[in-house]
């Protein structure tokens, strides 16, 4: 495993742990999701830089576009949740329990 691979893998794992163990706020989970996408962006940019050709140069840009869409969706859901549940604390999302 090259140092670059290790770097973005550990960044991804940290973000994933943050997302999986989200405890209080909605927005911190969204931030961890953005961190995941950022680590993948760095990974794809490093992949492009390892070759001399521009064949795979569009991949980080497309990832950026999809990540922006996802972030926008997440923020819209944050606003919707704050409107319906009156808070962005995750413990308040308890309407759908058994």
């Amino acid at each position: 495993m090259t140092p670059a691979h290790f770097a973005f893998s550990s960044a991804f794992m940290l973000g994933l742990a943050g997302l999986a163990f989200h405890r209080t706020h909605f927005i911190s989970a969204l931030l961890c999701l953005e961190g995941l996408m950022l680590s993948l962006f760095i990974a794809l940019s490093l992949w492009t830089l390892q070759f001399d050709s521009m064949n795979s140069a569009s991949m980080p840009m497309i990832l950026l576009a999809f990540s922006a869409c996802e972030a926008g969706t997440g923020l819209a859901l944050l606003v919707a949740t704050t409107r319906t549940h009156s808070t962005n604390r995750l413990k308040n999302l308890n309407l759908l329990q058994c």
Partner: protein, 348 residues
């Protein structure tokens, strides 16, 4: 919802799945899955009630995590082996990570905890799209990665069958029951995937058929609780005959279609010298059969105690076009004798 927006979302749903089906590169497959996720989120939360918003939020988190993990595993595979082709994913670690990410996408145990709550918060039509259409793209990817090492699939499959049965025991909400039934059926599908991919395809197709007919039956009377099932006899009496048969077909009882995949899967597992696993799977599906039988009992064999015969509701024209539903219901009940023809068509 305004028609242009609604049609744009439906077209995007179709586009996402088509992109994943048509791709041989992991990146395009990931893009198709992302488009699917983004397109269904407005559909899920369109009526802006708190339950729908909460269900959408939970769905969004689960699917976003799984998509990001899928892309991470593909990029790691590229860094380690230089391959972006879906059909050649030789590295074992990234292969397992891809399988787990796709399992979280479709809601297999132990990554299933989002599924019952999400289904509970949605309308029946959106729940139908979630159970059937949204599963197609990840299932296709799992089908394509040519599983060779069967351990992870057996573990996922057995856990899903057990959890899908046991989790539905105490439920009275129909959508949660349908979520657990989906988990159990996909468990059967993934159990056989490494041994005979055509059988897994057959299981998926029959599961889609049965789920579609059950959802359509519930949509006709807008039933979301066992209590509302119990008054079906007054609204649409024919449903009290067809829906229990669909439920028993989902449970896998012999003269009905649902027996076909279970039978063929048990036969294939026995041929591979895995009889204990086959026994465990068959016994665990008795859990699911319990709650299907409870639904059939509530629907057909009971009558509400305080309903005088003179207060039957007006039978207005049905709102839904029942053409597809009647086709699906007939296929769910009557397809078992066609098993030899189907087996001849699949390259088993």
């Amino acid at each position: 919802m305004a028609p242009p927006i609604y049609s744009a979302l439906i077209i995007s749903l179709g586009l996402g799945t088509t992109m994943t089906f048509a791709s041989t590169h992991w990146y395009l497959a990931w893009m198709g899955i992302e488009i699917n996720t983004l397109a269904i989120i407005p559909l899920m939360s369109q009526n802006h009630i708190p339950r729908a918003t909460e269900a959408t939020t939970k769905y969004f988190f689960a699917q976003a995590t799984a998509s990001a993990t899928l892309l991470f595993a593909s990029i790691s595979n590229a860094f380690l082996t230089g391959e972006w082709d879906i059909l050649q994913t030789p590295n074992t670690l990234t292969y397992s990570l891809i399988t787990l990410a796709l399992a979280m996408k479709i809601g297999l145990a132990p990554l299933h905890s989002w599924m019952p709550e999400v289904m509970q918060g949605l309308s029946l039509l959106t729940g139908l799209i979630l159970s059937t259409w949204q599963k197609l793209a990840p299932l296709y990817l799992i089908y394509q990665i040519q599983p060779t090492n069967s351990n992870i699939f057996i573990v996922l499959g057995l856990l899903s069958i057990i959890v899908g049965g046991w989790g539905g025991f105490n439920q009275v909400q129909l959508r949660k029951i349908l979520a657990y039934s989906s988990i159990a059926h996909l468990g059967w599908m993934i159990l056989i995937l490494s041994f005979s991919p055509p059988l897994a395809l057959l299981t998926i197709l029959i599961y889609l058929l049965m789920t579609f007919s059950l959802f359509s039956s519930f949509m006709l009377t807008r039933a979301t609780h066992i209590n509302s099932l119990a008054t079906t006899w007054a609204k649409i009496p024919i449903l009290t005959i067809s829906t229990p048969l669909i439920l028993l077909s989902l449970g896998g009882l012999p003269p009905l279609t649902g027996f076909m995949p279970k039978w063929l899967i048990l036969q294939e597992l026995t041929k591979q010298d895995l009889a204990p696993i086959a026994t465990l799977a068959a016994l665990s599906s008795l859990f699911s059969l319990y709650f299907y039988l409870r639904l059939s009992y509530a629907m057909t064999l009971t009558m509400p105690p305080n309903n005088p015969a003179g207060t039957l509701p007006w039978r207005l024209n049905p709102r839904h076009n029942t053409t597809l539903m009647s086709l699906a219901t007939t296929s769910t009940i009557c397809l078992l004798p066609v098993t030899p023809a189907i087996m001849a068509m699949l390259p088993l």
